[in-house]
Amino acid sequence: MSLKRDDESDQSLYANLDKSTVLQEARVFNETPINARKCRATLTKILYLIYQSERLQTKEATETFFSITKLFQSQDIPLRQAVYLLIKELSTVAEDVIMVTASLSKDLTAKSEISKANAIRALCKITDASMIQGIERFLKQAIVDKNHAISSAALVSSLHLFGNSKDVVRRWANEVQESVNSKGGITQYHALGLLYQIRQHDRMAVIKLVQSLSRGTLRSPLAYCMLVRYTAKIMDEEEGNRAMYESLEGWLRHRNEMVVYEAARAICNMRDVTPKELFPAVSALQLMLVFAAIRTLNKLALSNPASVAPCNLDMENLITDTNRSIATYAITTLLKTGNEASVDRLMKQITGFMSEISDDFKIIVVDAIRSLCLKFPAKQGVMINFLSNILRDEGGYEFKRSIVEAIFDIIYHIPEAKEYALSHLCEFIEDCEFTKLAVRILHLLGVEGPKSATPSKFIRYIYNRIILENATVKAAAVSAMGHFAVEVPELRERIRVLLTRALDDNDDEVRDRETFSWPTLENGLVNYLAHPELQRAPFDIAAIPTVTRCVAAPGSADAQRAYAAAMEKIPELAMLGDIFKSSKPVELTESETEYVVSFNCRNTINDVVLENVSVAMTVEATTTSSQPTCHWREPWRPSTRIRCPRNIYVVYKRNSNVTPVATFGNTLKFVVKDCDPATGEADEEGYEDEYLLEDLELTTADYIQPTFVSDFGRTWEQVGQQHEMVEAFELSAITSVKDAVTKIIDILGMEACDGSYSVKDKATTHTLLLAGMFVGGIGALVRCRMAYDASSGVTLEIACRCEDPEVCERIVNSIV
């Protein structure tokens, strides 16, 4: 063909093609008789333009399309094939492409086999859902055609058509089934794919399909790979179904390496896979040890390091592999599976080629090191050194982020490493190009820094940020400084000086944060001065136990802290002592023997001033005869500010050792005064009004503080059976175990231990372990065993162990 020239002339032929000139050239299609050679060259040019993502307008495309329809009169096969190609390209742009349906169908019945496959593809491209019936006959015929090229073209086209006209394609299932058994490898592969699509939603049919094919009628390794994937999918959907494991294992001995790998990977990805099941897969992978195999082993090493360990010896050899990607995976896998002794050696090796691999692989290495660190805390020194070294290297954001996150993890989980890691982070932010990371690190410094032995050394790094960085980082730095100021009294004066200096920063955000950290600071100071007895110990706001569970209000933890701080300020409340627990949905707080009910009020109506707002609470129902009595009420200070939220506190006194469950009815009473929208001044006269609030419930959960028990089993045994109380319930209203777990935690207000909070989606049984502390410091442990059955709902057996039998009873009965 004329196109097969050397590169240079190729350049001259197709370089600098102009769309309009080429479309002009398309007039050659209208000539009689047709010059096939010339037309083909022009078609190629148009195709070239389209492939270079030149966009044809609808009008241009339609005109070109109609002129190429005239080429159907030529019997020249190469020209016809070029026409098909262009029709496929134009089918999305031009109008009335359906025009060529008859001509294409005619080609399908023609004797020439060569262009049939191309014709099928073009035909399916131009057909829309409404016309598909018209070509159904041809496609069905083509699917069972003896020529593999034709049948697989028909199958792939059907696969594309399936998206729009599922029903029509479903009718071809018999033909497709027939071609699965055809001799052509590629046809089998395509037919299997289509057959699966057709039966996708009928699980039994898919299982039947897979089972019948796994007996070995297939020839194509590609088809086998598909089969392996479908099998894996079925097994994944049906948890615990191991019926198909045997066929997977059988495929591990397949002739073709690709099938072996696919099967091994499927086994490795099985849920809850046992080492015994893994063994054959791992040994199959061990024999291969190509890139894909080692990647799978690497992934497996995360969950089942022991099963991968037998391959360690082979992987050692791969560390020096010239393919750096393989070497990376090999090393990280070894890190995950290896023992403590080999870590040093491996780390040295990684350091050697760290500069040679791409960011993606560096991230893999960092992840491996992160998990290694948590596994062998003793090695943290080496690891942190390594991490901080690569932190200084060149690298993209994702890479840096993964390092920083790894260091964060180390800081949280390995206390010994904290100081060292923090100082490395400090050095990193000195020269950090990523604002996001700098902000995160500064926040961490603010939280962790004050707790370290020498908080003062961080101040310099943070203040440097205030001077040198962009607004976002500055603001973060100011916040971090604020943390230091609040928590480390010795530094307070010095930080105040530094912050005052930053007050005249020319950036708004920074100034806002500045002024924000001032009140916090002052608050702390005032408190510090107001409580002389506290001055002996350094003031620590964290000493007030705050529960950082989600509070309905935005910025939960901050809000919680704000409550604590606000209550501290009210002398009457401060006298009550520390807060025992803040209940979550309604801000209801109780303290040793009193309840403090705090109402967050916000005036949401403009132009109205509310005065003398108070809340009247009445006890509507209670379990004990001794009614809680209203003890103290905080008056509302007259407010002239619109939309300024204020708190109202109501304190209830509870007789000691009685923990009543009660419902409070609440009414908001206030005086409304209209005010002038222009001046904002309120009228003299007002009228009294009431507003009925939602009822407030005081439940058992409010008396329980969630506590964390690290080894539930042992603690459970320690308390012993003599203090146990067991009760069984049927929760018919709850439809899944997952729901039940959430509800129970909600009702009891206790902390889930040993990760028993997480429930699998379709689990039918589950054991939930809870720990908490009842008012008065009485520890309580609860074990809930649940079973789900579609007919009866969730059956719950709740066992509570607690030294106080009364508390035990209360907890168990609160489920009702």
Partner: protein, 184 residues
Amino acid sequence: MGLWSSFLTSLGIIKRKVNILLVGLDNAGKSTIINGLKVSAVPQTEVVPTVGFNVETFSTQHRLTFTVFDMSGQGKYRDLWEYYYPDVEAIVFVIDASDKIRACVARDELETMLQNKVLRDRKIPILFFANKMDVEGGMSPSECSGALGLEEIKDRNWTICATNGITGQGVGVGLDWLAEELKY
């Protein structure tokens, strides 16, 4: 067409190629007529409505090779006929003589066609086939010509033949006329 081939054509050694557009309402029998002309084709008992168009090539004894663009007559495809007006040398218009009711539709289509800008400039001959002569109670060719107002076509050559697409009767007569028209 090169000089050499035009020389050969004039000597009658190779045949001249002529493009013809075959139009008419749906179910007029266009595809059937073409099938009858194909030498090799096995007689088809069933003809499905054409979607879009079909191209057929056949030669006659008139030293001509006809390339026929058999257009679909269905309403939504009639707009597409005009794309082929510039490149054809003759038009064959098939009328369903048994369908009196839609004769007026055929007339409308014919008028639209004749008013097309391209065809007004190109005085190419039009051959009318009054098809389905085998159906009883159909219109005669002269009745067809009246129903479609053929007498009003004064600016170009035309003729009308009575045909039976299934047997091919009368088609040859029409093509003879066309070959004579296209001789030069």
